[in-house]
């Protein structure tokens, strides 16, 4: 260890005095309401009580967890085991008509547009241009973050719902699609 490191170590060994009670209560008065905005939940002073609660909750959940895993594996195995193996015979795939794989306009592979129309009862042609709308659900202040430059910025997260409405006047059909979306904004902060 060189001499500079020794000095460094000596200095680190000196502890600054904590703020006095008078000063802390002065700060508390000055903070006012702002001082009670963020609270910390302190741990329960009785640790044995915690352990008994924890162990009883574990005793409750472990059998349930094992049962859930068993049910899951049983259902998976019954699902994978075909009731009639002839369903998956290669001859069935071989007899598919060529028309079922050749329609590029169809949204479903292997099904033509006309077949889709017949099966679903939803017309393929005759839809109006879709109407889109953006709805703001909420804005969340996520506090202060550091930008890559090191400067502080306040982060806001906006939750939107994007709505798209398709209308088919001939059949009076309306299809409403909703998609959630988030946007994050960073607003640079100046201390003063």
């Amino acid at each position: 260890m060189n001499e500079l490191e020794e000095i460094e170590k000596e200095l680190t060994g000196l502890t600054p005095r904590s703020p006095s009670k008078d000063f802390s209560s002065r700060v508390e008065n000055a903070l006012g309401e702002a001082g009670s905005v963020a609270m910390k939940h302190l741990p329960d002073p009785n640790p044995t009580h915690d352990r008994s609660q924890l162990s009883s909750s574990i005793r409750f959940w472990i059998p349930l967890g094992i049962a859930a895993i068993l049910v899951f594996f049983l259902s998976i195995s019954s699902f994978l085991e075909p009731e009639d193996s002839s369903i998956f015979s290669s001859t069935d795939f071989a007899v598919q008509p060529l028309s079922m794989v050749g329609d590029e306009d169809s949204p479903l592979h292997g099904v033509t547009s006309s077949e889709l129309e017949d099966l679903s009862g939803v017309p393929v042609e005759g839809w109006l241009d879709p109407k889109t709308q953006e709805r703001l659900i909420r804005k969340i202040d996520e506090g202060i973050v550091d930008r890559a430059t090191g400067l502080p910025a306040r982060q806001y997260r906006y939750h939107f719902i994007d709505e798209t409405l398709w209308t088919h006047p001939a059949t009076e059909t309306r299809v409403l699609s909703t998609t959630p979306r988030q946007e994050v904004y960073l607003i640079d902060l100046e201390l003063y």
Partner: protein
Amino acid sequence: MNLTEPIWKTWFAKHGGKLLLFARQQARYPDDAEDLVQEAFVRIWRLYGHTGEVSPGLVYRAIRRLAIDWARSLDRRKIREDKVSLDSPLSSSFDRSLEKDERKQALLRAVEKLPKEQGEVLTLKIWSDLTFDEIARTLDLSLNTVASRYRYALQKLKDSVPREIEGKPQTHTL
């Protein structure tokens, strides 16, 4: 039992002493240190305290800027005399246990004699636990400047402390 405590109290108990030490260096008068810390901390906590987590660097920066503002207003008034800190040595900001330790006292006297720009870097590095990068941002300096000031400060302490101790009368001999 659902016990709760304002987060600022835990935060302040951890960082308050370090902030006071830094404020003491930044303030023109030692008596202003508490006012500086209170003003800076309250401002920052009111802005960001609801998040429950405030970066100490923000408060250090606020202290520095406030100290500059206050010094400017004092310059304009030109009222007080510069009392320096003779009536309140740096050691008064540390635990009382070191009052009997001559070596540590000498070390702190030497810290106090450092040029201000070296002393503030040393304080932020040693007692505020800031990284060089955080210090550079707090003091608006480059990383290289911060690192070299820190090195010069340590070098000066190394050179000056033994001389200071040797110059004192040896009361414990005989």
